[in-house]
């Protein structure tokens, strides 16, 4: 398996001297193609810092972040911006959809910024909107859509053009559970199709969609929950469901 995202001994200290806060300490991890990894931990444990570093939105004070073979710390600003546009898709709790653009224009925007012609960019955007089941609403503006539909537009934007790495920070936000599950299903499907995904969440139910769950505390990884060695044992060993 090939790692799309790799963190090597990453540290992140905010501030200096006596007020310095160590947000991440010596974090190493890999997310492979086809894999969805969830990150859990109490507030202040470093979850969002981790995601921002993985997405090149923040730089580590120690260690290396490697995305699709590129060491982000060795990229100049232009190269870094290109990695962010082409390789990484972001889904945030705040959707950051532009209100003056229609759904398809919002989704096409990253490709257009990347120099793809408008026609081609719109084509890619329609493919992404179809994948999230919103092709019919492509011409609507964000304020003409429900919260769940807007969230799906944001996901389509993160997935447009087959990004290799999808990063999601509490992507289900304030959505009802049914719509929230739809969002996770999309993420899962994208990862099953070959993308690498990292999901920050405080909801166990959402983290459970991942192949691995990483637990952070005080900026460090304290444990990882991988797949069961023998899943068939599970059903006969459930506390409280037995006689």
């Amino acid at each position: 398996m090939s790692a799309v995202l790799e963190l090597r001994g990453v540290h992140r200290v905010h501030g200096r001297g006596e007020t310095a806060v160590q947000a991440l300490r010596d974090v190493s991890l890999q997310v492979n193609a086809g894999e969805l990894v969830a990150v859990m931990g109490p507030s202040g444990s470093g979850k969002s810092t981790l995601l921002n570093l993985a997405g090149g939105l923040d730089a580590p004070t120690g260690g290396e972040v490697v995305v699709a073979g590129q060491v982000l710390g060795q990229c100049n600003r232009r190269q870094l911006a290109a990695v962010r546009r082409r390789t990484i898709g972001y889904v945030f709790q705040q959707l950051n959809l532009l209100p003056s653009l229609s759904a398809v224009e919002n989704v096409a925007l990253p490709a257009e910024l990347d120099g793809v012609g408008i026609r081609k960019a719109r084509e890619l955007a329609m493919v992404a909107l179809e994948a999230v089941g919103l092709a019919d609403l492509a011409r609507r503006f964000p304020d003409e859509m429900s919260g769940g539909q807007q969230q799906r537009v944001a996901i389509a934007r993160a997935l447009v053009g087959q990004r290799k790495l999808v990063l999601a920070d509490e992507p289900t936000g304030a959505l009802d559970s049914q719509t929230g599950e739809g969002v996770l299903r999309l993420l899962r499907t994208r990862c099953d199709a070959g993308a690498a995904g990292m999901l920050v969440t405080h909801e166990p139910r959402h983290a459970a969609w991942a192949d691995r769950v990483i637990f952070l505390r005080d900026g460090g990884i304290v444990d990882t929950s991988g797949p069961l060695a023998q899943p068939e044992q599970l059903l006969t060993a459930t506390p409280g469901v037995t006689a």
């Binding site: 139910r205 797949p227 006969t236």
Partner: protein
């Protein structure tokens, strides 16, 4: 709950013999409750003694089917109509283990909470995976059984988060668990100092 109501419910659908009952019981509970054939026959014998089922003549293949009696039907209806009492459920080992860990010197309670969290998360991941493989309308019973386990694992994880937060707030967190000096040695407190 015991196996007896499960068997009564299956016999309500028509006469059945032991092996049939075992496989249908396991099917109905989504494989979460494996039975051995000995349990099935012991239960049938007791149900017959209580006149809730009656044995029918042996078939040509030497299998003896059972059918439910009127009294059995009434007993089953009563069971369906009665809410499950919490006291009927097994006591939760995890709750007791944590309560004891907090009051036992030298136990790494946070480590214990995290180890449990990882284990419960792993189960929740697996239930979730199974849940999404059970999409057809025919899978409804199995899906609901899985949902129950998902809710349970989720509840356990929430409770563990709550425990951790409470421990962080209320424990002074000494590096080594030293025996706490008793401020009032004249009043022994049974069961610990908290």
């Amino acid at each position: 709950m015991s196996v007896r109501y499960g068997l009564l419910a299956l016999l309500e659908r028509g006469p059945r013999y032991g092996y049939q009952l075992r496989s249908e019981f396991e099917q109905a509970t989504g494989g979460t409750w494996p039975l051995n054939i000995g349990q099935v026959y012991t239960t049938l014998t007791r149900l017959e003694r209580d006149e809730l089922v009656r044995a029918l003549p042996e078939s040509d293949g030497g299998q003896r089917p059972y059918e439910v009696t009127e009294a059995g039907r009434a007993e089953l209806a009563r069971w369906f109509a009665t809410p499950v009492e919490h006291g009927d459920r097994p006591r939760n080992e995890l709750t007791i283990k944590l309560a004891l860990a907090i009051t036992t010197p030298g136990v790494d309670v946070r480590g214990m909470v995290q180890a449990q969290r990882t284990a419960s998360m792993r189960m929740l991941q697996e239930y979730t995976r199974l849940r999404h493989g059970a999409d057809s309308p025919a899978d409804l019973a199995w899906r609901l059984v899985l949902d129950a386990m998902i809710f349970q694992a989720e509840g356990e994880l929430r409770w563990l988060d709550h425990c951790e937060a409470s421990l962080a707030r209320f424990t002074p967190a000494p590096l080594a668990p030293a025996p706490a000096p008793d401020p009032e040695p004249s009043t022994p407190i049974p069961g610990g100092t908290r």
